[in-house]
């Protein structure tokens, strides 16, 4: 199968990359009507599958689960999840032929086999829904011409999709209709109704395209979200140990610091994160993040270029075919790092201390978010899409690090993200070697403000504030965040 994006003429490439519309709440007044009375069959019952299904049913829609025969006979977790909640469960053969909408919520890697199994069974004129466009865009799967193909992608973990729904809210969601598969022109109406059914319409909906979603999602996850958080965490930990900081303290600072720091990001963007620092620390963090941006820019650009050309997915699919050799070797390597092996010490670290003693991570996060955002926008992705795939998701990934460190982060994220993270981390560490030599404990491990008088030059501070606040990611972010201010903040341990 040919990479779909690469088959398009440049005009159409740009056209699809540029689909980006932050939808007004008035566009959802028709509620779930476009799907009312229709038979919706979800394939897969993991965290996304189960929780989206619970929401859709509670919104008055008809939901059943199609699982593989082995999962049903073996009474696997997916089978238990669905039956314990009193959903109808059946095999593909039993449920797909009568389905009006088939919702594929299996892991990315299974998409090809799932779609190949499901497509011949689907009835004429039905709809196939995805939550990620990799299969269509990168693997180039061709869907039968009578079928409608849509995407509905809640930008949060499955448990949060449920938690926000039951309290009367929702999570930000991205929707799309594949232009090659909208024969009846009903795709958008159905995607919107689906979105209302999961509660997403209350927290902000971005209309995107399969192409824009894939190219921005891949870029975000391998650079700022997983890649840089991984590299930055390990370098920070090793630096502290090298400089004689207690390993338990270092481990705790790194494990939880990134979550505390990026919580500010969630509420008020880069500006709020930087404002948590003292004035001298903020100026310092600004300066070193500028330096980091210069060092890492070529690497970010290479990742974006490889994603756009299809090179990234080509080598990753090679590794899939090769039994995940590279991926598994690297996963094991992560599990062996000193950071991973050192348990968080039994020390209390106050909320502000995470900022004051971990200025380096603030700089890493600013550099990574801005670079990922800038690189995406330069490649033709619209700022709104770029925002969701960089700044918005950073705290969500940071939360998984706080839970169980990097090994867990790599386990939880998709294999696509993990493979990208692997490529990034390999290349980034040597790139930062010289930079890290200059880093001392005032930036990581000890309070930056110790032994300083706190004085700053007015004009420098004003210029730094101006530069932070006027960045495009801040301007677009403040608009988008208004739509989701009501989202619950992540609780820290």
């Amino acid at each position: 199968m040919a990479n779909y994006f690469n088959t398009l003429p440049l005009r159409e490439k740009l056209n699809q990359l540029g689909v980006c519309d932050f939808m007004d709440s008035s566009e959802f007044l028709d509620g779930v009507n476009a799907l009312k009375g229709k038979k919706l069959v979800i394939v897969g019952c993991g965290a996304q599958g189960l929780n989206q299904g619970l929401n859709l049913r509670d919104s008055g829609l008809n939901i059943a689960y199609a699982l593989r025969k082995e999962a049903i006979e073996g009474k696997r977790d997916s089978w238990k999840n669905a039956t314990d909640n009193n959903f109808t469960v059946g095999t593909y053969e039993e449920l797909i032929p009568t389905a009006d909408v088939v919702i594929n919520l299996t892991p990315d890697k299974q998409h090809t086999s799932v779609v190949n199994a499901v497509m011949p069974l689907m009835k004429e004129g039905a709809t196939l829904s995805y939550s990620h466009g990799f299969n269509i865009v990168e693997e180039g799967t061709q869907i039968r011409k009578d079928l409608t193909v849509i995407m509905v992608a809640p930008k949060c973990p499955g448990s949060e999709v449920r938690a926000e729904y039951v309290r009367g809210f929702g999570v930000p969601t991205l929707i799309a209709v594949h232009p090659e598969n909208d024969p009846q022109g009903k795709g958008l109406a159905q995607a919107k109704a689906y979105c209302v059914g999961t509660g997403g319409h209350k927290a902000g909906v971005l209309k995107s395209s399969f192409v824009a979603e894939v190219k921005s999602d891949l870029m975000g996850e391998q650079t700022i979200l997983c890649g840089l958080l991984q590299t930055g965490s390990i370098l920070s930990f090793d630096k502290m140990v090298e400089k004689g900081i207690d390993a338990g303290y270092a481990s705790k600072l790194v494990q939880y610091g990134v979550e505390v720091i990026t919580e500010a990001l969630k509420q008020g963007g880069i500006t709020a994160m930087m404002d948590r620092l003292s004035n001298p620390a903020k100026i310092k963090a600004f300066e070193i993040s500028e330096e980091l941006k210069d060092i890492m820019r070529p690497l970010f650009q290479k990742h974006q270029d490889d994603i756009m050309s299809g090179e990234f997915s080509r080598i990753m699919m090679e590794d899939w075919a090769n039994g995940d050799k590279n991926l598994l070797a690297w996963r094991a390597e992560t599990g062996e790092t000193a950071f991973e092996k050192t348990p968080a010490g039994d020390v209390k670290i106050g909320e502000q201390e995470y900022f004051d003693n971990y200025t380096l991570m603030v700089a890493f996060v600013r550099a990574g978010v801005e670079l990922a955002f800038e690189t995406m926008v330069q490649a033709g992705i619209k700022p709104e899409s770029a925002y969701y795939e960089s700044l918005h998701e950073t705290p969500l990934i940071a939360n998984t690090i706080a839970r169980k460190k990097l090994f867990e982060m790599n386990r939880v994220i998709s294999d696509t993200a993990e493979y990208g993270c692997y490529l990034f981390d390999q290349a980034c560490k040597p790139l930062l070697a010289d930079f890290m030599k200059k880093v001392d404990t005032d930036l990581v491990g000890k309070n930056f403000n110790d032994d300083k008088d706190g004085a700053v030059d007015n004009r420098t501070l004003i210029a730094v504030n101006e530069a932070i606040r006027s960045h495009q990611v801040e301007q677009i972010g403040s608009t988008l965040r208004k739509a989701m201010t009501a989202m619950k903040s992540i609780k820290t341990a």
Binding site: A47, G60, R403, S489
Partner: protein
Amino acid sequence: MLKPVVHIENLTLKHQHKLVLIDLNWIINRGENWLLSGKSGSGKTSLVKLIAGILSASGNIKIELDPTHKLPAKTLYVASWYQFKDLEGDSNFYYQQRYNSQQAHRTHTVYTELLKYGQENQLDFENLDHILNALNFTELKDVQLIQLSSGEHKKLQLIKALWLKPQLLILDQPYTGLDALSRKNLSELLNEISTEGVQLIMICDQTELPTCINRFAEIKDGSLTVAKSLESVSVLPKKIVKSIPNFLSKAPVSSSEILISMTDVNISYGEKKVLKHINWEVKAGEKWLLQGHNGSGKSTLLSLINGDHPQAYANNIHLFGNKRGSGESIWEIKAHIGLISPELHWYFDASATVFQSIASGFFDSSGLFKTIGAEKQAQVEELIDYFELNEYKNELLKVLPLGKQRLVLLARTIIKNPELLILDEPCQGLDQQQTEHFNHLIDELCTNGMALIYVGHFETQLPACLTHKLLLNNGEVIENIKAYHTKKELA
């Protein structure tokens, strides 16, 4: 002479520019078990938290425990609010999560939790069974923490404290949410450990106290007054009864004659049957008392009515004229109902102000996500006024004293003048005066034709309007009475 166990001198505590405790003095000698009373917001909880070292204030608190005694030289504070964590140490759970069955087990079971606790504190496991038996907990050993009811969580918290037997045990509203038998057994267990050397400080509004309580104190205007007996603790004056706001004196719009109908309803989690063959009908305007021991299935039953339980779809339930699972959304169901429960309170939006919390009742959401018009705003203001919450209006709900938080959520429950009120232990945390005030309001609202389902463990604290009663025992209906009268009325 032995030094006092607790010696407090000139304790002064400020909360947001308001003096809560002023130069307070208190001496607790060996052998004394105290009841601490005072009206809601008087500073009871703050005072005991200061003793437990959770809060700090100006003044002196000296605690002298006996390091040579066989019991641990510890002070333990058992909060009125339970809190449990998942395996990763978070308490990031959400409303009604316990009903959504999911394979990934994220919490300990009761047994593994107790095992961990016992090992951490080097406790003798032989002493545990007696406590578990007394509180009817033996059969819950293999249950996941997330699946426990609110009353069962309360019990687990008490079991740990009774097992630890710290030399100084501070209990904040320990009887809240417990059924009558458990309350009686708890009193006996407390008497037992006090003979072994545990000293108690107890905050409690109930009159049924363990007999070991031998000293009585009351906080009034920031100071501590010692009373001779329970009877001489000052009785709060009856509240002057205000008439209810105008917009609530209209009869609610009824959707159908039969609001709820359940036919042979069964709920189970794996092998465990939680509700068995339930048949129940609630007609418009009926006032039901729902009772049963902790874990008997009351909250599960109510969750079926409120659209919170996934297994409702597999049962024969009609709500407000529609069969459950016939294309209605849970928000359409909730629109008919005003609900309060310990769970709703526990998982309520932590970032909502008092005003937002009340206004969220219009939409049945936890937190306010929409702007409301002038008419609705005025109604919120009227209720704030009615419940005397004006000074708290723009404060975060979570920083208010527990009793005040309850009043706010009660206001939220009635704001839309619903046709059905579901009040699951609504008066938890309220003092006697507030309870009477609230029950009076319920009586008045109910004269207008509102239907009511009321869960309350305390017979003396029920509204007078109740006329029907459903009694559950281990998931089965054992009484379904059409002419019920509260004891208060009979007395």
